[in-house]
Amino acid sequence: MFSLSTVPAVPHEDPWHLPLQERMRLLARRPRAVAYFYEQADNSTFRYRVHNMVEVLNDGEGDIGASYFFHADLTRLEEIAQAAELLVIGRTRYDHRVNRLVAAFRRRGKRVLFDVDDFVFDTDYVHLLVNTLDLDADNPQVWNDWFAYLSRMGAALKLCDGGITTNEYLAARMRAFAGIPVEVVPNFMNREQLALSERVFEAKATQSPGQDGLIHLGYFSGSPSHNRDFAMVVPALEELLEEDERLGVVVVGYIEAGPRLERFGSRVKRYPFQDYVNLQRLIGSVEFNLMPLQFNTFTDCKSELKYFEAAAVGTLSIASPSHVYARAIDHGVTGFLSRSYEWAGVIRQALGRLGEYRAIAARAHADALGKYAWFTQRDVILRALGLR
């Protein structure tokens, strides 16, 4: 494990809780403005797909700015539609308010786009999703909730003139479903996340992997829906923990290590969910970031965020070759790819290359900054918005 004593945890408060007045002011600050709409602020999709976009568009000089709004703000709907040139609805379920919002922009001849980062709009795939997320299929509420969720999401998507998403695979699903043009803006790291990541990366520059005598394999889960993904690597982790006493496992988030790993005692550590900035410290402390994904249409739509978040802090990733990971990671050069049956072998291979750890980590870091840093995204966003 790496020592990050020189990078203490930072006090963190989500930066997006601005009063409506301030957000309205952001909309009026520049001659051309983009209004983003989202149901309610959260730490996952909202951060990546709305807050980060707005932050980039408002950065520096220029005539285009942005702001964001929620359901609770729609008392000012007409003002928003008047002030903004374009509306982007981020992963929002259809209802009468969304319909009115779209109509307000349409009445003024303004375009409306839909941004979604998961394959959650086509009800043909509800059963696959329920199964992939290991939800309780015997609970009728699960079916009510997910059919409602996907059909409302699909209805909102179909209301829009175009779409934006995180990768080309998901974009193709959106085009096929809604018959609209869809552009890609990848997920990326914002200013705050990247600033701390850089400090972590620098703190590790003089350290060797496993310098405290242990090498840790980390699994970082941002939601409680990854039981089946994590289960894919458990047999390999058991095998490796048995054969190599240098190894430890770190499990972070809403997931349990499970009874099969509990027998390894303190070599398997569990941490609760972290805020997204300090999570970078924890990712940076482990040597390897495991990213197993089940193989299906739903998981192929996932973005590469777990790769670049690890790369930014100089931690090497080992990932399933999903559509996106297979394109993001150059096996052996910027990380490692492992098919479902290769995990034990690929982890051994990665451990065998500890001597090259820093070189691989440096390449991955450069790759992450080149493609997934906030300061490289402005043109990509503007092009996707049709403002370039």
């Binding site: 015997d138 894919m232 249409t297 098919r339």
Partner: protein, 441 residues
Amino acid sequence: MTNLIERALRFQRRHGTRRLIREGWARVARRGRALFGVQPPGQETPLSLADIGWVSAAELAAKQAQQCTALRLFTSPRPALPRVSIVTDSINKGSLYGGVGTAVILGCLIAQRRGATLRIVTRTERAQPSGLAGVLATYGIEMSHEVEFAFAPFHDERHQLDTHEGELFLTTSWWTTAATMGSVPAADIVYLLQEDERMFYPHGDEHLRCSRVLKDPQLRFAINTRLLFDHLVASGLDNVAHHGLAFEPAFPPQVFQPRHSAGTGKRTLMFYARPHNVRNLFYFGLEVLEAAIARGVVKLDEWDIVFVGKDIPKIRLDAGRYSPRRLENLSWAEYAEFASTVDLALCLMYTPHPSYPPFDLSASGAVVVTNRFGNKQDLGGYCRNILCGDTDLEPMLGTLAQGVALACDEPQRTANFRDRRMQADWHAALAQVVDRFGTPG
């Protein structure tokens, strides 16, 4: 009680302590409700005392054949790539080679031919995926796409597996075939048949269920060995003649090859010892060995005897004076390594199928004595180091004596090994089967 504890420990190993406790409480609650006539919420009719002790006929019949419980499949839109699913009990250590290994190899090659992804569905044990990497590396098979592993235990009704139109299912036993036929059209199934599975049972319900599956006119069959194919057809399975294709297994020299033994000065005689697999004639084998020692056919100052198999009792031969070495639950690498040091093997199989051990051992340079059965009369066409004897003591002793002589006749044994006619490469061995079943439609 011992049985209950064993079952509980097995359940705990497979599913963890938490599931064990939950399952235990559920059973206690069910038992309590049955005893005291208390119903779970939602069931409004209370049981009277007269109702206690009765069971549903349908439930009882299903329980007797629970390994046939239908796979819980749901239909999903067709993905970008089609899929081939293998349905088997387990692919874990101890079961991944031999017949199960053949199923995995065939599944991989058919998936490759179809440009499909592969899914391995296991029913009794959660798969250890890393074993597959070993099989692929051993046999030089490259997979173009990801492989999925799904656990679909017949005792857990919560498992669900997605499927799509046109998915091909490769089943590996009559019960996995029955379970799959419960959920998909028989025409979408290829049944890899490596035994006359009817012979696993006395004439009774299981025999009947197995026979019904084997007779299904819609099923297609891949039959391991021409001998077995001919036997099945001769036994009246015209459907196998029409919808089946036989293949001969392969024994790559990188796995099976003669090696020199450790050098104790003695030769090694292996006995394939599986007392719980009745077709392996464990007790007849003991009788033969004991007689062979008593009559000097096998001299213990010249031969080390090694029992290889599973659940082998502590047995002494030579009227209680000689303890053979026992090797149980060998990994595949350990088995292959050991096989290459064997001089003579006694591998009995009371079915028409030659079975793998005689082939494994002869491909490793040993002389093998096995038994005749039905149309299995002579396996010299594969390798003249395989000798078949009749299943009476005197004729089998005679064949064992021939085996001893041949094992000691190095030039002849070497010549026979060199002239063997066994496939060395699975791609070639399965080419016709892959052509037939790897082409959709």
